[in-house]
């Protein structure tokens, strides 16, 4: 069987090379003819999932919730000791000093990443802001979100904290963070489709041991991770329950 593998479209194009290397590692270690496919948008990804074209995915928490509970995907592993956090920032020269000073009617620059948008909007609730009284200007990458702020095209921007921290000092000097989330439990996760469930044990063994092998450790380092954490079923269920409290019904 050929395993169709993809990652959430929130990964920046420059990080996809490391995922290609991960796929090669996967092929060599498992003997599975895995094929790495990338999708430019969530719309494309969700269409591929609906067509049964995604066997293995490194998904964000927002997608994980529906993939596990509605489509029967099995959670495998998530990065150890890491979590997806969000920064809300403004342009350095903005008069806004705190989230609660942001007013209804503002434009917010963000990528299409639903995790980041969900957490970002939650952090705007103290300012009485929600989707009904703000406008989200979706940009293709975090540098473009930053550019929107510098050009005063948006009053505030949502950033994956990891992406914000990777900005050069030159960019950071032109931005000012208002708030950073500290949620600790939202993370990307490998999920396996029901069609590929026969490979679950093989993939779990591979991921669990990856950091103990020299070549596996190098692949992990390129991805920016130390090791994979294999969560017990109850931990997965708990994370999904937690996500359900954050997503609007």
């Amino acid at each position: 069987m050929k395993l169709q593998f993809t990652v959430s479209p929130d990964f920046a194009p420059e990080s996809l090379a490391a995922w290609h290397i991960f796929n090669t590692y996967l092929q060599r270690q498992t003997g599975l003819g895995s094929h790495f496919e990338t999708y430019e948008s969530y719309q494309d990804l969700h269409a591929a999932i609906d067509n049964g074209e995604v066997d293995l995915i490194f998904a964000n928490a927002y997608d994980s919730a529906s993939l596990v509970r509605d489509k029967g995907y099995a959670p495998l592993a998530s990065p150890e000791g890491q979590a997806d956090e969000v920064v809300i920032a403004v342009a350095e020269g903005s008069p806004v000093l705190g989230v609660e000073e942001l007013a209804p009617g503002i434009t917010i620059a963000s990528t299409a990443d639903p995790d980041v948008q969900t957490i970002g909007m939650i952090m705007l609730e103290p300012a009485n802001l929600d989707k009904s009284n703000t406008r989200i200007n979706v940009r293709g990458s975090y540098p473009l979100v930053a550019k929107s702020l510098m050009r005063n095209e948006a009053a505030a921007g949502f950033f994956l904290a990891e992406a914000y921290e990777r900005f050069s000092e030159v960019i950071k000097q032109q931005l000012r963070p208002l708030v950073r989330s500290y949620i600790q439990v939202i993370n990307h996760c490998f999920l396996l489709s029901p069609n590929a469930i026969a490979h679950k044990d093989q993939l779990l063994d591979l991921l669990a041991a990856m950091h103990t092998q020299a070549n596996g450790e190098r692949v992990l380092q390129d991805l920016g991770y130390k090791a994979w954490h294999i969560p017990p079923q109850e931990e997965v269920e708990f994370t999904l329950d937690l996500m359900s409290t954050l997503v609007e019904e």
Binding site: M123, E125, S181, I183, V185, T245, L246, E249
Partner: protein
């Protein structure tokens, strides 16, 4: 549930006796001082079917003023503030026991007698279609929504039978 202790609370607290369902009344110490909800944090806890705390995160520990050891195994009502009417908790329990999500504004009482407001979401933890417990996630509320909730709870408390 253990009474609040005079040596744990900030100066100027008022004493209350709180009637509790299926338990002895509890002595409370209540201050007028609010502790601001920290930006960007989520307070997370889980309980069993009887509302006994089975998990709490760092933010819960920090904001409640209790240690994790003091919280685990205690009823979630350890945080119950006398300004929240019984009817609000009845609504919460009826909603989650019916398998639905409950959301609302809640004033919580800290170990030191001070309080903090949260916007709470409580969901049932369904495993194999059966409710095994509840998870509650609290986030920073808007001040105008807190003001609305305060006014509503005052009215409901005035209507509440003693």
């Amino acid at each position: 549930m253990r009474d609040m202790q005079a040596q744990d609370v900030v100066p100027g607290c008022e004493q209350w006796i709180q009637p509790l369902y299926a338990e002895e009344p509890r002595r409370l110490y209540v201050s007028e001082e609010e502790v601001p909800y920290p930006d960007g944090r989520l307070i997370v806890s889980s309980t069993d079917l009887e509302g006994i705390i089975t998990f709490c995160n760092d933010s819960f520990v920090q904001m409640s003023g209790y240690s994790e050891e003091e919280l685990m195994g205690q009823p979630h009502s350890i945080l119950r503030h006398p300004d929240i009417p019984r009817v609000a908790f009845v609504d919460l329990w009826q909603t989650v026991q019916a398998g639905k999500r409950w959301q609302g504004y809640v004033k919580n009482l800290r170990k030191d007698g001070r309080f903090y407001w949260v916007y709470a979401t409580v969901v049932p933890n369904k495993r194999g279609g059966v409710i095994k417990g509840y998870t509650s996630v609290r986030r920073k509320p808007s001040r105008s929504k807190v003001a609305e909730a305060e006014a509503l709870y005052k009215k409901l408390l005035a209507e509440q039978a003693p």
